[in-house]
Amino acid sequence: MIHVIAFYLFAVMTVASGAITILSRNPVHSVLWLILAFFNAAGLMVLVGAEFIAMLLVIVYVGAVAVLFLFVVMMLDIDFAELRAGFVRYFPFGALVAIVLLAEMVLGIGAYKAGAIVLGTPDGTAATPAGTSNIQAIGTLLYSRYLFLFEAAGVILLVAMIGAIVLTHRQRSDTRGQNISKQNQRRPQDATFNVKPEIGQGVQI
């Protein structure tokens, strides 16, 4: 019973926050609703028993993608009111796209019902061992069978990091950096002078 209640709760929230994402006038609000939709989708994944995907949704989509998106929305000066201005003009085209999408969905579901596609059979390595959660199962695979590829993927990330630094980091001549040890070594007696200027004369430092 609790499952059913939880499912409907998450599902309704996902659909509703998805709808509000599209409908809300303020793009920042849209992104916030999108984040709520991601959280609820993660809840649905937990209900299905795919904890790993639920965690990925929260960490990758909420933690990185949505926040990045929020930054983009806030940093770029996009006039969303102007973007929406041509609604009536572009309505026929939009309706056409919607009809095509609907037709594709109907066709796809029809083809699926007909059972025309024969997919390959997994070779058995994909099944989760009994008694372990799927996070544990994925971890075991990553660190045993796919250890080499996992490490190689780490090298790719390293290459990406080196690349980003090489292409953007440069020594700039027009700015002055902070030299903390030099700052700390400076004593009051080196920095302050007591001079007694003559009347009408400037101060020589």
Binding site: G120, T121, P122, Y146, F148, L149, V166
Partner: protein, 487 residues
């Protein structure tokens, strides 16, 4: 599975990655002043890795003993053949790069490290036995390549080359991934062996789409027509040593990977993909030859020449047998030697101030002002054109013979006719260099290393190369046999 056995088989990869990490630390502390030292150490690491892979080729390693990590990596004679070519041409890149970059003060400590990681990725590509390994090797190579193309970021052309390569490369990776996911969906496994077994009953429509999309992605990486559009721009804009790296290591890796995928994963489906390969091969030969005719820039011309050469190499793949694969590998060796010689010559063509000269018109009368350089350029062009006494002819002969033996007479005939068209623009350069009035632009001197590499590669592509052909034929036959025994 025996872990220590697997770890022993990937010793060259371990050497390269550990060397890369240590050099990265030296770069972090030493800064750009240490770039000379890092270059030398990186070359040493590449030579060391070459020494580690060579025994597998000499002993003709093949079969189940050579598969590491549940068949994800094959360390057989084929992969060591590819790796030797890749590592040596990466080392040649590192040798010629410093003098090029020093002129702009653009030599940075990260350059040799990125080349090292790109070579590591290329090595993974030729030894992949699994779709995941394929993709990881490809991306490691590509990511490093994007950065290398944009390495001289103060130069607009270099930045443009990097951006263009990145955007189109990402698109191609997406297409390749789509093909891989379809292939996985219809075969239920990611290992090449498993895919071949699962598809042995014939290709369904979905799996056929997978093959086509994978071929499209691979053709992009090989810069084969119709996915070649990026090549002239990237080759022209990227710094010349980097262009040389793309045209040698990158090409060997992409061709090796394509051979692995086509002859292992889809080995029993050769009838399904042969017509695609025939089309790609012929289109590359023709477009490469015709596109090069109007070029004024030597690097753009070399880009079209590389498209043209990929076409010839793929003629061997269309045969889909051991003889064809062996001919492809033989052609690859000669192609790498010709390309290294060609780009080293381009690097040596400098004006009085030491700036690179890429305009073909400026080479006029080079034979009278710089006879040695002119001879090198002439040899490379004649060899690329496939004029008989030179070694370049032998590679073309082998791939065409493989095609004819496999009963593909029309393919060989059209390819042969198109190679005559291709000869036109190579000979045009020889004409400019030997018969035009001297303009006397090329005056810069080059260091001993450029000359040494040029002399060695020119000797190889000269008729003297035929002395090695028996030995090379033995090696390519072993490597090709290993490819067919990997399953």
């Amino acid at each position: 599975m025996d872990w220590s056995h697997s770890l022993r088989l990937i010793a060259p990869e371990e050497t390269l990655s550990i060397a890369g990490l240590i050099l990265l630390l030296i770069a972090a502390w030493g800064g750009d002043k240490a770039s000379r030292l890092i270059s030398i150490l990186a070359v040493a690491a590449l030579i060391g890795a070459t020494a580690l892979v060579a025994p597998a080729l000499c002993s003709g390693a093949m079969g189940p003993d050579t598969s590491a990590f549940f068949g994800q990596i094959h360390a057989d004679a084929f992969s060591s053949f590819g790796k030797i070519l890749i590592y040596l041409s990466a080392a040649a890149t590192l040798v010629v790069a410093p003098t090029f970059f020093d002129r702009f003060g653009a030599m940075r400590a990260e350059f040799p490290i990125l080349v090292l990681f790109a070579a590591l990725g290329s090595g993974l590509m030729v030894s992949a036995g699994d779709l995941v390994a394929l993709y990881i090797g490809l991306e490691m190579n590509s990511l490093a390549a994007y950065v290398l193309a944009a390495f001289v970021r103060t130069d607009g052309r270099s930045a443009e080359a990097g951006l263009k390569y990145f955007v189109l490369g990402a698109l191609a990776s997406g297409i390749l991934l789509f093909g891989m996911s379809l292939t996985y969906g219809f075969s239920g496994t990611t290992s090449f062996e498993g895919i071949n077994a699962a598809l042995s009953g014939g290709l369904s429509h979905g799996a056929l789409f997978g093959v086509v999309f994978m071929l499209a992605g691979l053709a992009f990486k090989m810069s084969a027509v119709p996915f070649h559009m990026w090549t002239p721009d990237v080759y022209e804009g990227a710094p010349t040593p980097v262009t040389k790296f793309f045209a040698t290591s990158g090409k060997v890796a992409a061709v090796g990977l394509t051979m692995r995928v086509m002859l292992e994963a889809f080995a029993d489906q050769a009838d399904a993909w042969r017509q695609i390969i025939v089309f790609i091969a012929l289109a590359s030969i023709v477009v490469g030859a015709l596109g090069a005719i109007g070029q004024k820039n030597i690097k753009r011309l070399m880009a079209y020449s590389s498209i043209n050469n990929v076409g010839f190499i793929l003629v061997g793949l269309a045969a889909a047998n051991v003889q064809g694969a062996s001919a492809m590998l033989f052609y690859l060796v000669i192609y790498v030697a010709m390309t290294v010689a060609g780009f080293v010559t381009v690097l040596m063509l400098k004006d009085e101030a030491g700036n690179p000269v890429e305009d073909i018109a400026s080479f006029a009368g080079l034979s009278r002002t710089r006879p040695g350089l002119a001879l090198g350029l002439g040899l490379v062009m004649f060899s690329l054109a496939g004029i008989p006494p030179l070694f370049g002819f032998w590679g073309k002969f082998l791939v065409f013979r493989a095609a004819v033996d496999a009963g593909m007479m029309p393919l060989a005939a059209i390819g042969f006719a198109a190679s005559v068209i291709g000869a036109f623009y190579y000979l045009k350069i020889v004409k400019v260099v030997y018969f035009d009035e001297p303009v006397d632009v090329i005056k810069g001197e080059s260091d001993i290393w450029h000359k040494a590499i040029l002399v060695v590669t020119c000797l190889f592509i000269s008729p003297l190369g035929y002395l090695l052909s028996g030995w090379l034929q033995g090696l390519t036959d072993t490597a090709a046999a290993a490819l067919f025994h990997a399953l």
